[in-house]
């Protein structure tokens, strides 16, 4: 009895050991996630010193907040070149702009506001006095303000060479265009292939080779797809992907359609594999029931297999799409532009996407681009989180039907 109980307690000790090891692994994972989020949020808000490059006293009759609309318009007309004034006036006539819009315009274009330095959120909270002293000493003419970098303007404004006014509108739209087009291309092809491979293809050697290749393609580094996209879509199919055969002559092959085709190739194996798994998960008894009633293969697929595998197919597709949204490398090769101030306007437009924009922000020498990158990362993370929650929702919503 004694020997038995001692070995039992040893067995329990071993169990405890493993349990703690597994808990530790989980904690490491959670900690890294917290560090990641902390890092991003830490940069996305904080104190910034902002200074006018042009002395207001030289160009404005009195301090900015005391000016009337008319005085501001006069100051704008006086200090901007004629062409620049005309362009801005055509965008939106000055006499229809509100006071705050005019103030912003004066700050941006007349006084040429710029960021002299930024501090992280934690520094701004815990070392505010020291920062204030530093700022007052180094930038006596500048104002120190607490700035949140992720603002509505940041999301809705196009890019600008001045980080204070730079937004990611074109990148969000570019990502949206590319992803929608990618889904349109990859979803029907991927699901079609999944249905064929699961429901029609026999088990002979040729189909097994195809299956093995699809499984392997899912693991090919994305940059390889970028090379493929560059060679095929950007170069070889340039007349099509630039829109030349449709009469668009001012473009090259580095367009939204090239990017979407490349992305579609990239996620196609994922959609096929996930689709196959979803289709395989439909119980065979259901197919047999259908065939037993005198249904054809297609009737069985259309009425039973597809409706019952759709949640799984959609989940897999959404996960594939969230991968595509985050992909950067292939699009750099395919030739996403880094600076685009105009919204993409169709399949054959030049484009940029969110991750490339983030990469671009981090490549700039000025500090404040780090803050912009953090803000853009937050946008990307929220987007991905939303998509993944949708996948989870779909899975839970439909999974208990069988």
């Amino acid at each position: 009895m004694n020997t038995h109980s001692s070995t039992l307690s040893a067995r329990h000790r071993i169990g405890k050991f493993w349990q703690m090891l597994l808990a530790a692994a989980t904690i490491v994972g959670i900690l890294s996630l917290i560090v990641l989020i902390y890092n991003v949020v830490n940069e996305a808000a904080g104190l910034a010193v902002i200074q006018y490059s042009v002395d207001p006293k030289l160009v404005l009759p009195k301090p900015l907040d005391e000016l009337t609309n008319e005085e501001m318009i006069a100051a704008i007309e006086e200090n901007l070149s004629k062409g620049a004034y005309q362009r801005a006036n055509t965008d939106q006539p000055f006499n229809t702009r509100t006071k705050s819009e005019l103030t912003k315009f004066v700050q941006e274009r007349v006084l040429e506001e710029e960021v002299k330095g930024t501090w992280s959120l934690t520094d701004s909270l815990f070392k505010a006095d020291q920062i204030r002293a530093d700022a007052a000493k180094n930038y006596p003419k500048a104002r120190l303000e607490f700035r949140q970098w992720l603002t509505l303007d940041f999301i809705t404004q196009p890019m600008s060479s001045n980080p204070l006014y730079s937004g990611i509108r074109t990148a969000i739209l570019g990502s949206f265009f590319v992803i929608v087009l990618t889904i349109v291309i990859a979803f029907p092809v991927g699901v079609g292939a999944a249905i064929y491979l699961e429901e029609y293809a026999g088990h002979h050697w040729f189909n097994r080779i195809i299956q093995t290749n699809i499984d392997n393609l899912a693991g090919v580094p994305s940059i390889v797809y970028g090379m493929l996209g560059l060679a095929i879509f950007v170069r070889a199919l340039e007349p099509f992907t630039s829109g030349a055969i449709f009469g668009i002559l001012d473009s090259n092959g580095r367009t939204i359609i090239s990017a979407a085709l490349t992305m579609a190739l990239l996620i196609l194996p994922l959609i096929i594999i996930n689709g196959q798994e979803a289709i395989r998960a439909v119980p065979n008894s259901l197919r047999q029931a259908s065939y037993g009633l005198g249904a054809t293969r297609w009737e069985t697929i259309w009425h039973h297999v597809l409706p019952n595998s759709l949640p799984g197919i959609l989940t897999g597709t959404i996960l594939a799409i969230s991968r595509a949204i985050g992909e950067t490398a292939p699009l750099i090769i395919v030739g996403a532009s880094t600076f685009i101030a105009f919204d993409p306007n169709g399949l054959f437009a030049k484009f940029t996407v969110l991750p490339i924009q983030i990469y671009n922000f981090t490549q700039q020498p000025q500090d404040e681009y780090r803050n912009l990158a953090a803000a853009a990362i937050l946008v990307l993370l929220v987007l991905l989180l939303a998509l993944n929650s949708m996948a989870i929702f779909l899975r839970n919503r439909f999974s208990n039907r069988l």
Partner: protein, 263 residues
């Protein structure tokens, strides 16, 4: 063999020299037996002797097993179901099937019954058809107030009767039942057996069962299957009236099996 070797028109379903292979393995060898109209024919025998395989050969369900190959003839009303010009979909419409585990579609009860009829081009009053099929399967009283609930919300026995109703709605000539009661409790089993006795007035039934009492209770004719002496393939060793099989079997192996002295 007590049954005739050749088609006489007397039998609705006939199997002649049936050999069924999975790849190179001959699972069923030289099966020869006939099914009479409006009778219940039971196929009994130990596990793994090919009872289900033979049953599935009758409505060409084996077509879906990639390695499966069927040799020999299966005649329905004298017409060979394996002739090249025969469409297996048509075969399965005429010969319905009820499976071992109840497998209603994850749809409403109404849709479960209506779907098969609809794809087969039924043009009449669907509500009437659904009701008569559900009544035919003696499940109408259980479900008449819940026709738009999921078929999966029913109990196992009700689900199995729903599956029978679904098969009836296609108006087949033969209903194949592959151990239809093996996942049901004794009360549900009894109900299905009563139902089978009612159904044979209008349909011909072939049932595979592990349960010898069940075969003795419901069937008119019983086919005894057993592995051949080399223990590789299954074959029908004796076909006779159920009463004879269970009381005065001709084959010693049958007697051993039905009296429980087998193996």
């Amino acid at each position: 063999m007590t049954n005739s070797q050749h088609s006489t028109g007397h039998y609705l379903l006939e199997a002649h020299n049936l050999n069924i292979y999975y790849g190179t393995h001959k699972a069923v060898a030289d099966v020869q037996f006939n099914v009479e109209r409006h009778k219940i024919t039971a196929i009994i025998g130990p596990s793994g002797c090919g009872k289900s395989t033979v049953l599935r050969a009758f409505n060409r369900m084996n077509d879906f097993v990639p390695t499966c190959r069927v040799e020999g003839d299966v005649l329905l009303d004298g017409q060979n179901l394996y002739a090249p010009d025969v469409d297996p979909v048509e075969v399965r419409k005429r010969i319905g099937m009820v499976f071992q585990k109840p497998n209603p579609f994850p749809k409403t009860i109404y849709e479960n019954v209506a779907w098969g009829a609809r794809i087969n081009g039924f043009k009449g009053n669907m509500d009437e058809l659904v009701e008569s099929a559900l009544r035919g399967a003696v499940v109408w009283d259980d479900v008449k107030d819940n026709l738009h609930k999921s078929g999966l919300s029913l109990s196992g026995g009700q689900q199995q009767r729903l599956c029978i109703a679904r098969a009836l709605a296609v108006q087949p000539e033969v209903i194949l039942m592959d151990e239809p009661c093996s996942s049901l409790d004794p009360i549900a089993t009894l109900k299905i057996e009563e139902l089978m006795r009612e159904l044979k007035e209008r349909y011909t039934i072939v049932i595979v069962t592990h349960n010898m009492q069940q075969a003795a209770r419901v069937s008119d004719t019983t086919a005894m299957m057993m592995l051949t002496d080399d223990r590789q393939s299954g074959t029908v060793i004796e076909v006779n009236e159920t009463n004879t099989i269970f009381t005065r079997p001709k084959d010693q192996r049958t007697e051993d099996y039905v009296t429980g002295r087998f193996g």
